[in-house]
């Protein structure tokens, strides 16, 4: 079967390294192109919001970054599942490579949420449901990174990360729901000025282009990190030496 053969081949570090190397430039190029288009469209051509003025243009960063923070966690957990249940070696390599990128997008979502919140709410931070969930997600990422950093053996560390990511992914819906619950109790409802601005196609298009750009950027950089991870793990094997010596000539 096609898919089975694909997974089998992708299980070979050598094959993965080569194919990822072919994909990265295209992913990166497409991502940067879309990013320029999306940002120019968002900053120049999208109309000014009648309620929030031009401050809503932060949305073109904030919302895709928040989407990415969730998406990357899902990718991390799914890769972890692949490695734990079906022993797909590449799964743990991908899971480990996801964490720093996910953490940085979460940080971006938090910081832009704060920068958007200041003009809208008058304060830099409000314990609103989305920002709070995002903050907890950031701590979850930091936990994954710290755990991986603390375990000396990379293979053992990667498997620990896979479990932690799975535990986290079971908890995320519960955390999200409990934070929503808590928020509706403790916040007056009028504060949700930073809800979705009435979105028109001319605003939606740069948002979606920006989100796609971030997604492709993530795919490119996660492959870059996975390639490094493979080199590091297999540094004493023949394929790594042959490859690097061939490259060096």
């Amino acid at each position: 079967m096609g898919i089975k053969r694909f997974f089998h081949q992708m299980g070979s570090p050598q094959y993965f390294y080569r194919v990822a190397g072919l994909w990265i430039p295209w992913l990166l190029g497409a991502s940067l192109l879309l990013l320029v288009i999306g940002w120019v469209d968002g900053l120049v051509y999208a109309p000014t919001d009648y309620q929030q003025g031009d401050s809503y243009r932060i949305m073109f960063i904030h919302v895709p970054a928040a989407w990415m923070s969730m998406f990357i966690y899902m990718v991390m957990a799914f890769s972890g599942l692949l490695s734990l249940v079906w022993r797909v070696k590449m799964g743990e390599v991908i899971a480990v490579s996801c964490a720093p990128i996910g953490a940085s997008f979460t940080l971006l979502a938090l910081a832009t949420g704060s920068l958007w919140g200041k003009p809208m709410w008058g304060t830099w931070w409000v314990w609103d449901a989305r920002l709070t969930s995002e903050l907890i997600l950031f701590f979850l990422y930091l936990g994954v990174i710290a755990l991986y950093g603390a375990i000396e053996d990379r293979r053992v560390g990667a498997r620990a990360v896979a479990i932690l990511a799975l535990v986290g992914v079971v908890n995320i819906p519960i955390i999200h729901y409990s934070v929503e619950w808590w928020n509706t109790l403790h916040q007056p409802a009028t504060i949700t000025k930073l809800g979705k601005p009435s979105i028109v196609p001319s605003m939606l298009i740069p948002l979606l282009i920006g989100a796609l750009a971030f997604k492709l950027f993530f795919f490119a950089t996660v492959l870059m990190r996975a390639r490094n991870e493979l080199l590091e793990r297999d540094r004493n094997t023949r394929w790594v030496k042959n490859l690097l010596e061939a490259e060096a000539k």
Binding site: G143, L147, A150, A160, I163, I175, V179, W181
Partner: protein, 227 residues
């Protein structure tokens, strides 16, 4: 050697852990003292205004319970890891997740349950109305086992590490958020005089989920930590 039935093995392990805890009974007071101390620190930090303290009381009690339970987590597998008995459990014919469950239960009996004993006293400290005491105890009774179960996964992942303690709190605290929210909110609701059925049900549901999943995750983590 004859085969031990699962229930006999779990019972033996439970008794062994309780005996071990009894031999180190001086340590049993630590979580309780910690619970009392944190609760006493809050009025010192925010001022002695009785109205204010009563208002934030449920939150204080739950945060203190959470930290007290976090503090005692580290000891859950530590001594068994150091003397090698943890590896023996891994090699036994019994499912490791059930053995983990027995260990977590024993740990909760000596560190979680005692918190319930001092909770009525601490309720006085924060001017909690006596009507809300029942809900406080019930929320702690259902909530602290969830903390122990989630904590077991974190301990299992960090047991072999030198600086495991700091990382443990980083791993576990974000996962404690739902228990904190529903626990504190249950008490808060009871203070106002509204039945806290919904919040208590949520905590019970989380307990059921944690009972089903956490032992498996902790067993898998132990296997990785010991490899």
């Amino acid at each position: 050697m004859s085969q031990l039935s699962l229930s006999a093995a779990v019972g033996l392990l439970l008794r062994r852990d309780l005996v071990l805890a009894y031999r180190r009974r001086a340590e049993l007071a630590n979580p309780i003292l910690f619970f009392v101390l944190i609760t006493a620190l809050f009025p010192l930090g925010i001022g002695a205004d009785p109205v204010l303290i009563a208002k934030v009381g449920p939150g204080i009690l739950w945060v203190a319970a959470l930290l007290a339970s976090l503090l005692s987590l580290d000891a859950m597998f530590r001594s068994d890891f150091e003397d090698g008995s943890l590896e023996q459990f891994m090699l036994s014919a019994q499912p490791v997740s059930m053995l983990v469950l027995a260990k977590v239960f024993a740990h909760w009996l000596v560190t979680g349950l005692p918190l319930l004993l001092v909770a009525p006293l601490l309720a006085l400290f924060v001017n909690l109305p006596t009507d809300a005491l029942g809900v406080l105890l019930l929320s702690l009774l259902l909530g602290t086992p969830v903390l122990s179960l989630i904590g077991a996964v974190g301990v299992a992942l960090t047991v072999g590490l030198r600086k495991g303690g700091v990382i443990l709190s980083l791993l576990v605290l974000p996962l404690y958020v739902p228990v904190l929210i529903f626990g504190a909110d249950a008490v808060q609701t009871a203070v106002v005089g509204i039945p806290a059925t919904a919040q208590i049900s949520f905590i019970a549901a989380m307990l059921a989920l944690a009972l089903a999943l956490a032992p498996m995750a902790a067993a898998a983590s132990l296997r990785i930590s010991l490899s």
